[in-house]
């Protein structure tokens, strides 16, 4: 495509009064030699948009550079088909954050225009990836409440679903319950388990194929083209599916680890699940036949305990209240103790709590000091009672029920990496692969491991703040208690949400588009394979396991697994990975397009590589709030800080840039990085560049990195000034002018 570039400068929103538009235009026409450069006082108005459209249609303009507001606004207005389009942010990040009609402000605006021109020179129109034999069938793994809801929701939305359940019947956890927690007004009493109706509905739905007594042997491929091998009754069935909902749920925490609460030691100390079994059989009696007249529930048996499960299992309080109702229904005179740390009965469950209180159950907030047994196998509990400030001891109780919490099915199994680690891997000081356990749920044929990477406590990772259903495996969405501890209603809601995301994924993949967070992005990484050294960095660093390996150990990209973050591009030491509209040389030329004044002009330059997702919006926010910040900065947005190529640091230094500031997202356990590990990887890479800088006699303090979130915008001016002061201390870049 022969590019004909048009530059459109908006003079509205005080741009015309704050900048010398004529000299700005000259940058485009004289320096950039663009054939078309126009200004308009209201470019985002219909007349302004028409002006651009007319040039596209009549003048053959096919590459457009709009110098106006931030690309984060008016993106729906400046939308033109089949042309290359870029935005130069003169409003939020120039006139709103700098002094109007100032020499330095003008220089900044002109640099941004140069950078924009350099960028469009490199951009090519992406061509969407087209897979082979793509389908829009959803695979649901796990036939409990969550899984069945997911399959039905998919069917209701017009998609086919394949539901695989390990046990011989659908229903999952719900099958083991005597009654279910209240879901209907007045929410004060347990309800009959209604899972049978749901099972019937699933089995009757022609769009849902159910495999019970079945397991996933392998899932190969990528979104739109997953091939799932399912074993059932000794046979293997293969289903091609578009995306996957993981709904394998949780299991109770191993009660044998709770011997300090008497489990295993005293026969009348049981678990919540055992209580359901006893209640299902009829009268609640002990194994020795004694009717239960006095019962004690011990909450947080293992949960919220750093020695066991550090988290709250979310449902046990309500489950125990429900079971207290069983006893009270059998005998209103029965005595019920509930020992708890905090009663957690969110929403309508508070009504059940109140009812159980009114029915006369005794709630004791405190710590269990000890449990002993008397000669008749009754139990005596000693506990602190925070509310009376005393240590109390109960009279003999007939039975103790431990509310022993839940463990996600993804948390079970051997560590995949532990075995895979070779001596060579151990020496590698690069980023470590994520934790994957062989939990035998999905059996993914991914180079990175057979299951979902897990985060804290073994739950399938998700970006719990912004997009809870997204996991680190594109096209696989976790829902229900495998994702986080949750109750029945939340599981139903979760299933619905995850199914919707799974459907979006199948639709996007079919069109060659990225899924969240770069929804609609048509670009994907291209590997110049002839230059590959098989170093494996891309396959290890891709947070989404998008890159497998072929039988010759070359990287084998799976474009529909790709989220387009560019982390592989930043990881590749040979720089063989490029996108049509994002590449190492492109950013390199952007850097080179910045005019760096001579040392005697005393105008240092600070280059900011800003993550597009949080740092760049934060810079916009600073402008929106009219916070003035340092005039020496030039901002280059990156798809993710993880796409940072170290060569850009060298490019900047040799261009005479005085300092480089990397602004990325918070990383670690509660990460905010949209691509999970991007900012962390950037930091690891940076730690290696400092040695190089020191060798070149460049102080490593010329490169700084900080974590920033969008709400930190007010800290930006001080952060930049602080860095500028540091650079002043270090003096000008010695390579300036070379």
């Amino acid at each position: 495509m022969v590019k004909k570039t048009g530059v459109y400068i908006c003079t509205g929103c005080s741009l015309g009064e704050s900048l010398e538009i004529e000299s700005l235009s000259k940058v485009a026409t004289k320096e950039g030699k663009v054939p078309v450069c126009k200004t308009h006082p209201f470019l985002c108005g219909s007349e302004g948009v028409e002006l651009i459209k007319s040039d596209i249609e009549n003048e053959g303009v096919n590459t457009i550079l709009i110098a106006a507001c931030s690309p984060r606004v008016n993106y729906d207005v400046f939308e033109f088909d089949s042309v290359i389009m870029e935005r130069v942010n003169l409003r939020e990040q120039v006139i709103w954050s700098q002094t109007a009609n100032d020499e330095d402000t003008q220089m900044m605006a002109e640099d941004y225009l140069r950078m924009g021109l350099a960028k469009v020179k490199h951009i090519e129109l992406p061509e969407p990836y087209q897979g082979v034999n793509m389908v829009k069938t959803l695979l649901v793994v796990g036939g409990g409440l969550t899984g069945m809801t997911s399959a039905l929701e998919a069917a209701k939305a017009g998609y086919k679903a394949v539901l695989v359940e390990k046990s011989s019947a659908l229903g999952g956890w719900m099958n083991g319950l005597f009654k279910q927690v209240p879901r209907k007004a007045p929410y004060t009493a347990p309800e009959e388990v209604d899972v049978a109706e749901l099972i019937k509905e699933v089995e009757a739905n022609p769009d849902v194929t159910v495999y019970t007594g079945a397991e996933i042997l392998e899932i190969a491929g990528s979104p739109g083209m997953f091939d799932a091998s399912i074993s059932q009754n000794g046979a293997t069935i293969t289903e091609r599916v578009g995306s996957v909902v993981l709904a394998t749920g949780a299991v109770p925490y191993d009660p044998t680890k709770l011997d300090y609460l008497g489990y295993g030691k005293y026969e009348n100390v049981i678990t919540g699940l055992q209580m359901e079994e006893i209640a299902s059989k009829g009268k609640i009696v002990r194994p020795d036949g004694k009717e239960v007249q006095t019962i004690a529930f011990i909450q947080c048996a293992g949960s919220r305990d750093p020695e066991h499960l550090p988290y709250c299992s979310a449902t046990c309080c309500v489950e125990s209240l429900k079971q207290a109702s069983y006893i009270k229904e059998q005998n209103p005179e029965a005595n019920v103790f509930v020992f708890y740390k905090d009663m957690r009965t969110p929403g309508q469950y508070e009504r059940l709590y109140q009812q159980v209180q009114k029915d006369g159950s005794i709630f004791v907030r405190g710590e269990i000091k000890g449990i002993t047994e008397d000669g008749e196998k009754n139990l005596l509990i000693e506990a602190t009672d925070v509310l009376s400030g005393a240590t109390i001891s109960t009279e003999a109780v007939d039975m103790v029920v431990l509310a022993n919490g839940m463990v996600p099915t993804t948390a079970l199994g051997e560590d995949f990496a532990a075995k895979a680690d070779t001596e060579e891997d151990k020496k590698d000081d690069g980023p470590k692969p994520e934790v994957i356990l062989r939990s035998n749920l999905l059996n993914l044929s991914y180079r990175q491991g057979p299951e979902m990477p897990t985060l804290k406590y073994g739950f399938a990772d998700s970006h719990f703040i912004c997009f809870p259903y997204e996991t680190r495996r594109t096209g696989i969405y976790a829902a229900g208690s495998v994702r986080a501890p949750m109750d029945e209603l939340s599981s139903i809601e979760d299933a619905t949400g995850a199914t919707l995301k799974a459907i979006q994924c199948m639709e996007s993949s079919a069109q060659g588009m990225a899924v969240h967070p770069r929804v609609g992005d048509m670009s994907f990484p291209d590997f110049a394979m002839s230059r590959c050294t098989q170093c494996k960095r891309c396959t290890v660093e891709c947070p989404f396991g998008a890159i497998n390996e072929d039988d010759k150990f070359n990287p084998l990209p799976n474009p529909t697994r790709c989220r387009r973050c560019g982390i592989c591009m930043g990881a590749c030491p040979e720089r063989i990975i490029t996108f049509k509209n994002y590449s190492v040389p492109m950013i390199g030329n952007l850097i080179k397009s910045i005019e760096v004044p001579d040392e005697d002009e005393e105008k240092p330059r600070i280059l900011i590589f800003a993550c597009e997702n949080d740092a760049y919006p934060a810079l916009d926010m600073a402008g929106i709030n009219r916070l003035k910040y340092n005039a020496w900065v030039r901002v280059i947005p990156l798809r993710c800080l993880g796409s940072l190529s170290l060569v850009w640091i060298a490019d900047s230094m040799s261009a005479g840039i005085d300092g480089i500031y990397l602004l990325g997202c918070k990383h670690g356990d509660d990460y905010q990085c949209h691509f999970i590990k991007g900012s962390e990887l950037a930091e690891i890479r940076l730690s290696k560049v400092s040695e190089t800088l020191d060798r070149l006699d460049l102080d490593s303090e010329r490169v700084r990195m900080d974590q920033i979130s969008i709400t930190d915008y007010d800290k930006i001016p001080a952060m930049l000034d602080d860095f500028a002061a540091k650079l002043e201390e270090l003096g000008p870049n010695p390579y300036k002018g070379f």
């Binding site: 006095t294 005595n335 109140q354 209180q357 009114k358 029915d359 006369g360 159950s361 005794i362 004791v364 907030r365 000693e382 602190t384 009672d385 509310l387 009376s388 400030g389 005393a390 240590t391 109390i392 001891s393 109960t394 009279e395």
Partner: protein
């Protein structure tokens, strides 16, 4: 937390069966303790009296709730109960817990003469029965008969206490001025029993109430005017369960109606700044807030100023729940705060409408030496002053 206390399900059941039906409803949020008037005063009792903890000890049947000093400290002002998010009948729970002790014949020393006098004389003030009607001397009040509309029931305090007798007399004058058909049965009446029930002596209460009910029913009483809000409470809330059902009003309610009907006129000017102390049993316990204010404002020249803590936020005088007989060190009495509240508003007169409040406020005003700037008056006395001008 060193000593281990045994949970007693038996004691818990006993408390609940004594009337603390809502004891289990308590979720121990502690709002009650924070709203309790004891938080407003210094002293040892304030430090140990924790109504939330008392409920907790009751729930577990733990020893400790029966500590005499604490158990009998509650003034039953109703501040906690009115605001309880779980609608726990806290006063009833206190009453039941007291009953577990009193029912066994144990009563704190200062309350023993009270119970003794109620047994012997039908009043808590050690007044001889034959002198109960002495306050009527010089007044032309007929005995209640079938044809009379209202029975005027005068509180024991106003029958025997010379200061308090003035209240009874003033009420009579006001009723007569408005032409109300009323009579008395003072000589044969017994104490309403409100306070002894709060103290926890259910048996004695029942004895007193049954005797009054027998008298009232025998005489054909249908409507009762009370001089004290405590009697009002008892007749309205306690008597129906024992078969005594009457239309009961505090005199201020009736007078405000008569005022509106034009049957009562208050001609004399009293050009003073007047404030009103809402008695707990008239306000929070019986929800009468407007009637006394309407009456005060009807007096020409009187300017009504509200206290900071007024109406349902009114601060107790500490005379309820049997506390009128308690010895409280000066500096720790709620009444003192109340006098200071009135002084802060620059009021000339603090008016109230309860014989217990009068006793407590009089004491506090004298103790604080504020008699030269503030006068304590009962509502009926204030209105009579206007009548007589």
């Amino acid at each position: 937390m060193d000593e281990i206390k045994e949970v007693s399900l038996e004691m818990r059941e006993y408390i609940i069966s004594s009337g603390a039906e809502t004891l289990n409803w308590c979720m121990q949020c502690g709002l009650c303790t924070n709203l309790c008037p004891y938080r407003q005063v210094p002293g040892e009792l304030s430090e140990v009296f924790n109504i939330r903890k008392m409920q907790r000890q009751g729930q577990l049947g733990l020893e400790g709730f029966d500590d005499e000093e604490v158990l009998f400290a509650c003034v039953t002002c109703g501040m906690c109960q009115t605001n309880c998010p779980r609608s726990v009948e806290i006063i009833k729970n206190v009453r039941s817990m007291r009953n577990t002790i009193v029912g066994a014949g144990i009563l704190p020393g200062h309350l023993r003469p009270v119970a003794g006098s109620l047994h012997a004389n039908g009043n808590p003030w050690a007044g001889p029965r034959e002198k109960r009607a002495d306050w009527l001397e010089g007044l032309n009040v007929p005995e209640f008969t079938e044809g009379t509309e209202y029975l005027l029931y005068v509180c024991c305090t106003s029958c025997y206490d010379t200061r308090s007798q003035k209240i009874a007399k003033s009420v009579v004058k006001l009723l007569q001025q408005a032409g109300v058909s009323f009579g008395v049965l003072t000589a044969e009446e017994s104490c309403c029993g409100e306070t002894i029930r709060k103290i926890g002596d259910e048996e004695l209460f029942a004895k007193l109430a049954e005797s009054n009910i027998k008298l009232f029913n025998g005489k054909g009483v249908k409507k009762i005017i009370t001089t004290s809000p405590h009697c009002l409470y008892s007749f309205k809330q306690d008597y129906p369960e024992l078969g005594g059902e009457y239309e009961v009003m505090h005199y201020s309610e009736l007078l405000s109606e008569l005022l509106k009907e034009g049957k009562l006129s208050l001609p004399g000017e009293i050009a003073k700044k007047v404030t009103f102390h809402d008695p707990c049993y008239l306000g929070r316990h019986n929800l009468v807030y407007d009637a006394p204010r309407e009456l005060l404002q009807a007096v020409p020249g009187a300017e009504l100023v509200e206290l900071d803590r007024a109406k349902n936020k009114s601060l107790c005088c500490s005379g309820g729940g049997g506390r009128i007989w308690a010895e409280v060190p000066f500096g720790e009495r709620f009444g003192e705060l109340r006098i200071n509240d009135a002084v802060k508003q620059n009021a000339d007169i603090i008016v109230t409408a309860c014989p217990y409040c009068i006793t407590m406020l009089d004491d506090a005003c004298a103790g604080l030496e504020k008699n030269d700037v503030l006068k304590v008056m009962e509502m009926s006395e204030f209105l009579c002053e206007s009548l007589e001008k």
